[in-house]
Amino acid sequence: MKEFFAMGGYAFYVWGAYGVTFALLAVEVFLILKRKRETKT
């Protein structure tokens, strides 16, 4: 498990890429849902 997260020493690059990607996709979905709520009221 520890080995998996270490990514052979490339943890910063691999998880930095995946982390930012998923965070941005989540933000986009959040913003659209927020916009949807605001139009309905």
Binding site: F4, G8, Y13, A17, V20, L24, E28, I32
Partner: protein
């Protein structure tokens, strides 16, 4: 199919909701499958070690950034040709997602470049043309936001989007036309993929997941557009 029936925003509204729900579920399933194959089935790369695993988001995101631009420009062109409001709404709905995938392609490429090339950024043809694509998306959104009259905004944006399509083949062929630091295409139409089959499978699954994600998000956004401009 009665295509022109659905060209009316009001009739398209419920259909967009259905498509968004189906696409969102498919996106989640495909992403989980793709990441499972990418991280647990595919082997470690002989030259790059584990750093290569960035490929599972980098390449699909780069594909999406170009593909979404072409789709956006096509809807804008249809809007100009037939004067259909829904076409322009779809073009507007796609732009932020396209810009997002362009940024993700640049970001992940940068984090991949550091361990493999020794630098986060270099002004070579592939990277620079992809950066131009990001500015084209921003330009499209800024131009539309800056014009108050809706029809004029849509028309101006459409012209910009259509002219910008020139950049897509430049990005795609940049690695052939110029001597770039970026490697050539790993997957092309003319030859078999130059990578292990499991790596290729993982990449295709994530690409399909991004595709479904883009459809879901664009449909949700077009519903907001319709609701705001009835």
């Amino acid at each position: 199919m009665k295509w022109f029936w659905y060209a009316s925003p009001q009739t398209f509204f419920p259909l967009a909701g259905t498509i968004a729900r189906i696409a969102a579920v498919l996106a989640a399933v495909l992403a989980l499958a793709g990441l499972y194959v990418g991280f647990f089935v595919a082997p470690t790369d002989a030259q790059q070690g584990e750093a290569y695993r960035i490929i599972y988001i980098h390449v699909p995101a780069a594909w999406m950034s170009m593909f979404l631009y072409v789709v956006m420009a096509a809807w804008a062109a249809l809007g100009l040709a037939f004067n259909t409001r829904l076409s322009f709404m779809l073009a507007r709905a796609l732009a932020p997602t396209g810009a997002l995938f362009t940024f993700i392609a640049l970001w992940t490429g940068s984090l991949w470049g550091r361990p493999t090339w020794g630098t986060y950024w270099v002004w070579d043809a592939r990277l620079t043309s992809e950066l131009v694509l990001l500015f084209l998306y921003f330009g499209f959104m800024a131009l539309q936001a800056s014009i108050d009259e809706r029809r004029r905004a849509d028309r101006a944006g459409a012209v910009l989007a259509i002219v910008g399509v020139v950049n897509i083949p430049i990005i795609y062929y940049s690695v052939k036309w110029w001597n770039t630091l970026h490697q050539g295409a790993s997957v092309s139409f003319s030859k078999a993929p130059s990578m292990a089959a499991t790596m290729f499978t993982g990449m295709i699954l994530v690409a399909l997941a991004f595709w479904m994600y883009s459809i879901a998000v664009a449909m949700m956004r077009v519903r907001c557009e319709i609701a705001e401009n009835p």
